[in-house]
Symmetry: C2
Amino acid sequence: MQGNFSYHNPTKLYFGEDAMSHLVNELRSYGKVVMLSYGGGSVKRNGVYDAVIAALKEAGKTVVEDPGVMPNPTYEKVLEGCKLVRDNSVDLILAVGGGSTIDYAKAVSASAYCVEDPWTKYWVKQGSPDCKTVPIGTVLTMAGTGSEMNGGSVITNRKEGFKRGKVFGSELFPKFTILNPRFTMTVPHYQMVAGFFDIMSHLMEQYFAGKADCTTDYINEGLMRSLVHSSRIAAKNPQDYEARANVMWTATWALNTLLKCGKGGDWEVHQIGHAIGLVTDATHGMTLASVSLPYYRHVMRDGLHQFVRFAVNVWGVRPEGKSDEQVATEGLGCLEAWMKEIGVVMHSSELGVTEQNLQQVADAVLILPVGYRTLTREEVMEILKESM
Amino acid sequence: MQGNFSYHNPTKLYFGEDAMSHLVNELRSYGKVVMLSYGGGSVKRNGVYDAVIAALKEAGKTVVEDPGVMPNPTYEKVLEGCKLVRDNSVDLILAVGGGSTIDYAKAVSASAYCVEDPWTKYWVKQGSPDCKTVPIGTVLTMAGTGSEMNGGSVITNRKEGFKRGKVFGSELFPKFTILNPRFTMTVPHYQMVAGFFDIMSHLMEQYFAGKADCTTDYINEGLMRSLVHSSRIAAKNPQDYEARANVMWTATWALNTLLKCGKGGDWEVHQIGHAIGLVTDATHGMTLASVSLPYYRHVMRDGLHQFVRFAVNVWGVRPEGKSDEQVATEGLGCLEAWMKEIGVVMHSSELGVTEQNLQQVADAVLILPVGYRTLTREEVMEILKESM
């Protein structure tokens, strides 16, 4: 563990098949008006919406309906949500859905009473809220983003041409989160697998940084090994409760600020993925999958010690009689084999990246000066080309 | 992950060499009267006491001195602390020291305004506080117990002849904890090593339970591997900051409720250790070390799958061509070698267990009906004899 850091994560988690039984009691801690934010019709089809409405009724709440949160939530939608919050004096935002819905809820919470322009304040200048915010609770229906126990909020601003992340402090973390692995079982196969890779990407973004010996890396390796194991089972049999439960728990801990303690972080794969998502509106986890191998092969020599460790400790590569570069390469080969096994998208061209929009994607990539290597614009283009 | 559970850990952690710089600001969130609880003279010799007093002054606090918290804090001392809290209308208990001081602070917090008999209510009947409690902050000076981020409070009642643990809920967790690895460097070698084993014991107590495939076990294995690695470095060179920092962080996460999520737990080694501590007043971590090998060898066949996993994933034992029992035995052999390497006490006779007091120790052991095997009284005696 190096440097100075703080850790504070007050989100209450209720996990398991009976997790929803705690919702009524949690709701009682907040005021009368609850804004119910959700996406399309899936929560209505799978019964989650009805269960939530029943709890809201039992707790005597007035419900403000806020449907239609899209997979890559837009800033325009955020502004609509802000108006709903103000017009109805909302006491709690209950986000029911996946990471997009929860990211959206945080954006609304911080923006509703913000006197400055929220996009500029939070997503461009990365400022902190100094206005009143609205508490958030969540009922998670898709494992992946970790948004249920952190301050992350990725928003797409089509007018400005950017998809950007803002990480809010613990005052904007969900106050409580309901985690019932059964709720993730109606997610379409494609989305489920995209979630698996999103989790792995969160783990790798935080793992591939720094040179210090750090307990955090050992925890991260444990989570990676559990994810690889359980995702293999779940990809074959999505109804395996134990595997889905392990994946759901891993997703939450993969990005709840624990794994950045004493570490830096890279996050360049996410920046390239965000750019693809902005241009193609492709599923987030798949955008990450399509660029990860070209990216990591590109920076492998700059962080060779960590890629060797990844190969040995996560994938069980035997290092005896091999050069570090051979071991590291073998590790990335194992990653590739696992990706193919669970069935993620391996090429950005499958997501709609073309010779025509390639430059637009490349221009939208935010280059971060962290990780083992700060990319040049030319390297971003190389990686994107290799990803096609 | 099996069953239903909740997780809520609101303790704020400040980690690193500059962690103390956050103390003044944290103190400002509480009322004027702070009770400063600590042990003997060590915090006065190593400068921690002076730094804390400076922060208290800067924050404008009235300090109620509460020195003399002993290594195995007694119920009698708890009652004295309760009187201090009531007489001075204390707003915050600031516990400066190791786990004993923090365990003591929780006991005082829950007991000061308790109208029933606190010993019976909390440590015998394992009830929850329904009276006013006093917030707690901590400055940790010894890594081991994990008390800085949980609700655990082990108290010795000499009159009743018991040393007992009570695990309070998150409302009694420390509100904030200052973790500066440098503060642990003045701990005597014996206490440092005892702390290392205490951490390992917390990890093993939670690992050796259950049969489900569970992400928690993977996280636990990561923490065990980090601990083994860093404790080896620190035992040779206690001034190695990185190693001491990793050990300190591992200690906190080894027992902050994360590792029991989706798992049961065993905790029988702690019960036997508590009995030895009660009779001999020996250092907690050493009591655990002295009985662990006899205990685990005793229950190994009942949880063979997990002992095999322990051998392979924590100690790197190669399983090819060996029976499960051989692999498991080899794993415990690695544990034994590590214990000897870091220099823990291997025999309870070294701690003062004798033919004369053996029966008294055995009678004081609480037998828990959990873990891979519920011991009989005869087995407790066998294990104790083997430990001598």
